[in-house]
């Protein structure tokens, strides 16, 4: 019974989503504003929430700010944002605020569910993380079994999508992955996904791992092709 928090100001949309998700076996909490959602997450029920679906257009605190605050409270909660406009700038800003994925309203129930499932899968501890803990020079240490990352001995908490991305890239150091491959393997996108998801996640990952994010050592860009881990 995955537990989902819906943050949406329009009652009909909220009720509709709640109805559909309940029918398909989800536990659902709802909030009409960002403030309400954050209060709920701070409360007792908040610990049970496994995923947030967040509308960007909210009265009061906007969705971007809500997303940033969720990220400061809990690194592991996947956030799927709902963009009413589907405007490119909105999507980019939402991804920068730390959202793991986005859907554009109006969205059909099957699409929303598929995205929720994919995000939840990313958040689950992966059972097959083979390979020794990666401990390269440069102070980055990736514990593939314990799913933890430390930098110079300090733990670096990573949201699920960024962690998956890092594990995927670092499993084959030096190998170049193009954006489509990463969308398929990390995001589970079987459709033509948006490569900006990858770029945004890489950006967020670099901000946390790299000494100089503008001159990355771990997650490097291969112009015209994609990304690779290292070589260090």
């Amino acid at each position: 019974m995955p537990h989902v928090l819906l943050i949406e100001d329009d009652a009909s949309v909220r009720d509709g989503m709640e109805l559909v998700l309940r029918r398909h076996g989800y536990d659902v909490d709802t909030a009409a504003t960002g403030e309400e959602a954050l209060a709920l997450l701070d409360g007792e029920r908040g610990t049970k929430v496994e995923l947030a679906v967040l509308d960007l257009m909210l009265p009061g605190m906007d969705g971007f700010e809500v997303c940033r605050r969720i990220r400061t409270r809990t690194t592991t909660l996947p956030v799927i944002m709902l963009t009413a406009r589907g405007d490119d700038q909105d999507i980019v800003n939402g991804l920068e605020a730390g959202a793991d994925d986005y859907v554009v309203k109006p969205v059909t129930a099957p699409v929303l569910e598929a995205r929720i499932r994919a995000a939840l899968r990313r958040a689950e501890p992966s059972p097959q993380t083979a390979g020794a803990p990666l401990d390269q020079g440069g102070g980055l240490r990736i514990d593939r079994a314990g799913l933890t990352v430390t930098k110079n001995g300090t733990p670096v908490p990573l949201p699920p999508t960024e962690l998956r991305l890092l594990l995927e890239l670092s499993a084959s150091p030096g190998r170049v992955f193009n954006r489509e491959q990463l969308l398929a393997s990390v995001w589970d996108h079987t459709f033509l996904g948006d490569s900006r998801l990858v770029d945004a996640a890489v950006g967020r990952l670099r901000a946390k791992l790299e000494d100089v994010p503008a001159k990355p050592r771990y997650v490097q860009t291969v112009r015209g092709f994609g990304y690779r881990f290292g070589p260090l």
Binding site: V20, G86, P106, T108, V202, G203, G224, F225
Partner: protein, 490 residues
């Protein structure tokens, strides 16, 4: 710009002509006057001296004279005159000259006739071998006014006088060149005072034509050109006002469409979300309700597509559409687009490997889906999709074997909500149809890449329509990590 027939040339020519005409006219008049005056004076003084001399010498001539006395008379008259001119004396048939070697043909019969008939002093100017001469003749009369039959003629050269008047002419001729130059200079100055404002006006007009609605000219003085400048500024003001009003209206209506679509989204989002419930539970409903439920679900999906397309169109209209380009393999992208929609088996593919370009994968997907969807909906199988590379870009060609498009429809294919359904029939009743914006959106997406979508009918002997997407080879811009967005091209 206008070397010939320009205002400046015309002004210069006019000025120079005026200067020339006035110079030549005044010169001619002055020349005539001075020449007449000089000649008159020479004539008068020569005539006076001559008559005086004749009156002095004549009383000493014995009448009737013989050749000797006649010659002596002529010589004495000549000697008393400055420059010893040739003097000829005649008495009936006798003729004597002061200088027997001189040619006396200068004394023309006409003059002699005049002297004889008019019986008074006459004179004539003759040219004798390029030399101008004055010839004076007079009958010698007695005190009692009786003619003596004696006639005396004298010739004198007019060369000094001619030289004098020629000098005048030369002076004028020398003076004409500076006058003409001065006139030309004045003309240029006048032209400049006219041309500068005209040129400024021209420049301002061109700027206005290029769309700079703030193009104005400075008004100088109060002449007709200043009036014209004022009129121009006024016109530009009016133009700016009406254009900005139009733009305002246009922006308002575009905003309205965007707002309306946006407002439609929220109820649609709720409807779309719960539509699956209707589909899932339709089987347990009574037949009529079941049909109604399925219709509501299907039409909700259609409405949702329409609003999506309206929003997309609004984004293009407002310039908010951004290109998110990356290096893509076109064949692979087309294959994925078709697979995603389950069209792979319905279409013949010709997708060579390695046709790569920098493009927005999502937008290419939208274009391909639109063109193939159209061909499947309105055309007839076989529908084929071909990817190709040309020197200046890449192409995706979608061909069907339907009836093709009537020539009057071809120019309107990419217009919004233009439905050629009358000619391209819907293939089935379950087809929910497009929004009417599909081709327009496909074209806008192509233009964002600096490309285009073209339509024509097949020319290979089979009926059917051919849609071709052309994308230019783009220089690939790697995304910056801070999600710098490329400016929309075009």
């Amino acid at each position: 710009m206008h070397l010939l027939g320009g205002l400046r040339t015309r002004l210069v020519v006019a000025f120079v002509l005026v200067a020339l005409v006035s110079a030549v006219t005044s010169t001619a008049l002055a020349y005539r006057e001075s020449r007449t005056a000089v000649l008159q004076r020479a004539q008068d003084s020569f005539q006076r001296d001559f008559l005086e001399r004749v009156n002095t010498v004549a009383p000493n001539v014995d009448m009737p004279p013989d050749v000797q006395s006649l010659a002596a008379f002529a010589t004495r008259v000549s000697d008393g005159l400055g420059g010893a001119p040739l003097v000829v004396a005649r008495y009936q048939d006798l003729k004597a000259t002061s200088d027997s070697l001189a040619d006396d043909s200068r004394i023309t019969p006409a003059l002699r006739t005049a002297v004889a008939t008019k019986d008074r002093t006459s004179f004539q100017r003759v040219l004798h071998g390029d030399e101008p001469y004055l010839v004076v003749g007079t009958p010698v009369t007695y005190e009692n006014k009786q003619t003596s039959g004696l006639e005396v003629y004298a010739t004198t050269s007019l060369r000094p006088e001619q030289d004098d008047t020629t000098g005048v002419l030369d002076a004028v001729r020398g003076g004409i060149a500076p006058v003409v130059l001065l006139a030309a200079l004045l003309a240029l100055l006048a032209a400049r005072t006219v041309l500068r404002p005209v040129r400024e006006l021209g420049r301002a007009t061109r700027r206005l034509a290029e769309g700079d609605l703030d193009s104005r000219v400075t008004v100088r003085g109060g002449d007709e050109l200043a009036d014209l400048a004022r009129d121009f500024n006024h016109t530009a003001d009016e133009l700016r006002t009406s254009v900005s009003e139009l733009r305002e209206q246009d922006a308002r209506s575009r905003r309205f469409v965007a707002d309306v679509s946006h407002e439609l989204r929220t109820p649609l989002a709720a409807m779309t979300m719960v539509a699956t419930v209707l589909d899932e539970d339709a089987d347990q409903l009574p037949p009529d309700a079941a049909q109604a439920a399925r219709t509501v679900s299907a039409e909700t999906a259609r409405l949702s597509r329409l609003v999506d397309d309206l929003m997309e169109m609004s984004r293009f209209d407002s310039g908010a559409a951004a290109l998110n380009a990356s290096e893509i393999d076109l064949g692979e992208t087309v294959r994925a687009s078709l697979a995603l929609r389950g069209w792979t088996d319905a279409v013949r593919l010709e997708l060579p490997e390695g046709v790569r370009t920098a493009a927005d994968r999502r937008r290419v997907d939208v274009i391909v889906a639109n063109l193939v969807g159209n061909a499947l909906r309105h055309g007839a199988p076989p529908v084929s999709v071909t990817v190709g590379a040309e020197w200046d870009g890449v192409t995706v060609t979608v061909t069907d074997a339907g009836p093709g498009l009537p020539p009057e429809v071809l120019p309107h294919v990419f217009e919004r909500f233009y439905k050629a359904d009358a000619s391209r029939t819907r293939s089935s009743k379950t087809d929910t149809g497009g929004s009417g914006l599909g081709t327009a959106i496909a074209l806008e997406n192509a233009r964002l890449h600096g490309g285009t979508v073209e339509v024509s009918n097949r020319t290979d002997g089979v009926t059917g329509a051919v849609f071709t997407l052309r994308l230019p080879h783009r220089h690939h811009e790697e995304h910056h990590e801070e999600h710098h967005e490329e400016e929309p091209a075009g």
